[in-house]
């Protein structure tokens, strides 16, 4: 009985921390895809760059982990504005195939650059001693780092929820997601909003990459390795639906963790099984309330 309790506790704790990191990375993509209608396959590259940057700041610059994560996210957010102005502006009106081709090209550039600067191997992220320790929660012991990930992610998600739901900026973003032309005609500077949202999305990806690096190790192929997982979260969340991302990512994290713990040999398929079932059952997104046609 204690064994089962501890298994359930493990699935919840580890599934939630894993799912929340996915949520951080995926939120950005859901926002950019929903708002800008760009199939942005280069999203994982921003997460990778964030991770490499923060680890570099820690290892080479001696910066403490929390500060390095924050600095890397900000730098990537600023950098992404340049990328958006240079490449993405041309994609807003381009057909989807061209969007896919260009953004996947950006992935290859990122992979090449990361290999060139950091080598083809894993780039190890040291965990500060105060996060490496285990704490015993009675039924299950968990690494402090995982708890920190949960806390930080929840904080950021709460802030995002507040921004989307309670601020003018959030209202503008939601308006632009729903109807771009209409939003523009009410005087919202959609082009500036796009840059801002793109920076926000990329910054969040970088945050996920940096914060999650001790869990999802950095390697040059990172942009592709986690793209599928993130796309699954995006597909199940529905277009531009920020609130459901968290729910879906948690579900994905818990299903993956439970799969590995309970059906280890089948765990590679569990996530796809979930995807198939949910895509048939709820094609528009898991938590989307269906609109009247």
């Amino acid at each position: 009985m204690l064994g089962e309790m501890s298994s359930i506790a493990f699935i919840i704790l580890y599934g939630v921390s894993y799912g929340l990191v996915l949520a951080l990375i995926a939120i950005g993509l859901v926002v950019t895809m929903g708002l800008m209608r760009v199939t942005n396959l280069a999203h994982g590259a921003f997460a990778a760059i964030g991770g490499y940057l923060s680890t570099g700041l820690m290892v080479k610059g001696g910066m403490p982990f929390p500060l390095a994560v924050l600095a890397a996210s900000l730098v990537v957010a600023l950098f992404s504005i340049a990328v958006e102005r240079a490449f993405y502006v041309y994609l807003y009106t381009a057909p989807e195939l061209e969007q896919v081709l260009l953004t996947i090209g950006l992935d290859f550039i990122a992979i090449g650059a990361l290999t060139f600067f950091y080598g083809p191997n894993v780039y190890p992220t040291p965990l500060p001693f105060y996060l490496a320790a285990n704490v015993d929660l009675g039924i299950q012991s968990i690494q402090l780092y995982r708890l920190a990930v949960v806390a930080v992610s929840l904080l950021i998600i709460a802030a995002l929820w507040y921004m989307f739901d309670r601020t003018t900026l959030g209202a503008q973003i939601r308006a632009a997601v729903d109807n771009r032309t209409m939003a523009q005609s009410t005087g919202i500077n959609v082009s500036r909003l796009f840059s801002l949202v793109f920076a926000l999305g990329s910054g969040l990806a970088a945050l996920g990459g940096a914060l999650g690096a001790p869990m999802l190790p950095l390697e040059p192929l990172y942009p592709f390795k986690y793209l599928i997982l993130v796309l699954i979260v995006v597909a199940l969340s529905g277009f531009g639906n920020v609130k459901s991302v968290v729910g879906v990512a948690l579900l994905v994290g818990i299903v993956e963790t439970a799969g590995r713990l309970l059906f280890p040999s089948l765990s590679g398929f569990m996530i796809y099984l979930l995807l198939i079932v949910l895509m048939i059952w709820r094609r528009d997104g898991l938590f989307v309330t269906r609109r009247a046609q």
């Binding site: 064994g3 501890s6 298994s7 493990f10 580890y14 894993y18 290999t115 080598g119 083809p120 191997n121 894993v122 190890p124 040291p126 965990l127 490496a132 285990n134 012991s141 690494q143 780092y145 001790p214 869990m215 999802l216 190790p217 390697e219 192929l221 390795k225 986690y226 997982l229 993956e256 963790t257 590995r260 713990l261 280890p264 040999s265 765990s267 590679g268």
Partner: protein, 385 residues
């Protein structure tokens, strides 16, 4: 005047070409197919280092002929490896091919080599039964089953009786697991749990949790080098298992050149391998110092650089056997059967089935002078898969 000058110049050029032609040494070409780009690119880099050291130690002249190496990049694709092998034999006229990191590449190249009657050796492919795929194949790496067996013996010898196996779900991992399981059971041990982990796994914490819940006293690991190995071993370390039970690797998860990728939670990790960077023989010591001196502190010997060096020894032996004759592939392969020599990894012998008899080493990661190092604990001599 100008005409006379021009003629004189031509004469000079022509005579220069003729003499250089007659002085130039005869060369013999060897093809090296490796991974120089893509996700296995670190192995290609190690091949270059091992070969570089081989030439530094032995020179590049074998039986009066200069060895000319022609590198090709298969980038982890068996189909490309087969095409490149054909191109090397047909267009470049190579006599022997070396390299071939992946067993799938060896399998793809084998029929080409059989048709072209060209000997080939793999510096690191580890699947069993590769020799059956072509009569021209000679092993220079290992058969992974021997690693599994040696690990099981190490565990039994250390008084372990309850084993858990956690291997990546692909051929090499499965073979290592089966070999370990058979040997461990034969020695009176009991298997308390077995996991085959999909290669796509990113978060390994659930597997560490499963291992902890099964309460074994030893766990066999086989996970590919790089991100999977780092994630898996750090998950095990974070779960506090590294100090509590014997965690023993069989798949080059944490060779000395990779130890800088890990945090200190790997301290205490056991592993079994057919080479070891800290092996205390004059040849290996020279090799280690040469690599570190030339390629930097992290370029410690690993299975790929050691395989390349020892593989070059085998290739040189084949070429030497054909000195002064038309190169005959069958005779070249026959010449290395029963060949015993001192490799970087210690004494080696090529058996009649073109597989190797070699030592296996039980190591443990320990902090030596503040640096993580695979410390040699025990040698299992002359293991034959």
């Amino acid at each position: 005047m100008t005409r006379a000058l021009r003629e004189a110049a031509w004469t000079l050029v022509l005579s220069g070409m003729l003499t250089s032609g007659s002085i130039a040494q005869e060369t013999i070409k060897v093809g090296i197919i490796g991974e120089f780009t893509g996700s296995f690119a670190t192995s290609g880099e190690s091949y270059r280092q091992g070969i570089d050291a081989y030439f530094a130690k032995n020179g590049d002249v074998v039986a009066g002929k200069k060895l000319e190496l022609i590198y090709r990049d298969a980038a982890g694709k068996p189909g490309d490896a087969a095409r490149l092998a054909e191109e090397l034999v047909v267009n470049e006229g190579v006599k022997v091919i070396g390299g071939l990191t992946l067993s799938s590449e060896v399998a793809a190249v084998a029929p080409v080599m059989t048709d072209a009657k060209t000997p080939f050796t793999s510096f690191s492919a580890a699947a069993p039964g590769l020799a059956a795929k072509s009569p021209y194949f000679v092993r220079a790496g290992q058969d992974v089953r021997a690693s599994g067996q040696a690990a099981a013996r190490s565990a039994l010898k250390n008084g372990k009786r309850h084993a858990y196996t956690a291997v990546s779900d692909y051929v090499a991992g499965q073979q290592a697991e089966e070999a370990f399981t058979a040997e461990f059971k034969a020695g009176g041990g009991e298997i308390v749990g077995q996991d085959r982990i999909p290669l796509s796994t990113v978060d390994y914490a659930p597997y560490a949790e499963r291992i902890a819940n099964a309460n074994p006293d030893v766990v066999q690991i086989f996970v590919p080098t790089g991100a999977p190995a780092v994630s898996m071993l750090q998950a095990i370390g974070a779960r506090g298992l590294m100090k509590k039970i014997m965690v023993i690797g069989t798949g080059a998860e944490a060779e000395d050149n990779d130890l800088h990728l890990f945090n200190d939670s790997i301290d205490g990790y056991y592993s079994v391998m057919y080479m070891t960077a800290q092996l205390d023989t004059p040849l290996n010591k020279w090799f280690r110092e040469y690599l570190v001196g030339k390629f930097g502190a992290e370029a410690l010997p690993n299975p790929h650089s050691v395989g390349a060096y020892d593989g070059m020894t085998i290739i040189a032996r084949m070429i030497e056997s054909q000195a002064g004759k038309q190169f005959d592939a069958d005779a070249a392969v026959a010449s290395v059967l029963g060949y015993s020599f001192e490799g970087l990894r210690g004494p080696m012998k090529i058996n009649d089935d073109r597989e190797l008899t070699q030592n296996y080493y039980l190591r443990q990661v320990q902090k030596v002078d503040g640096r993580l190092e695979n410390v040699l604990l025990e040698t299992f001599p002359n293991i034959k898969p």
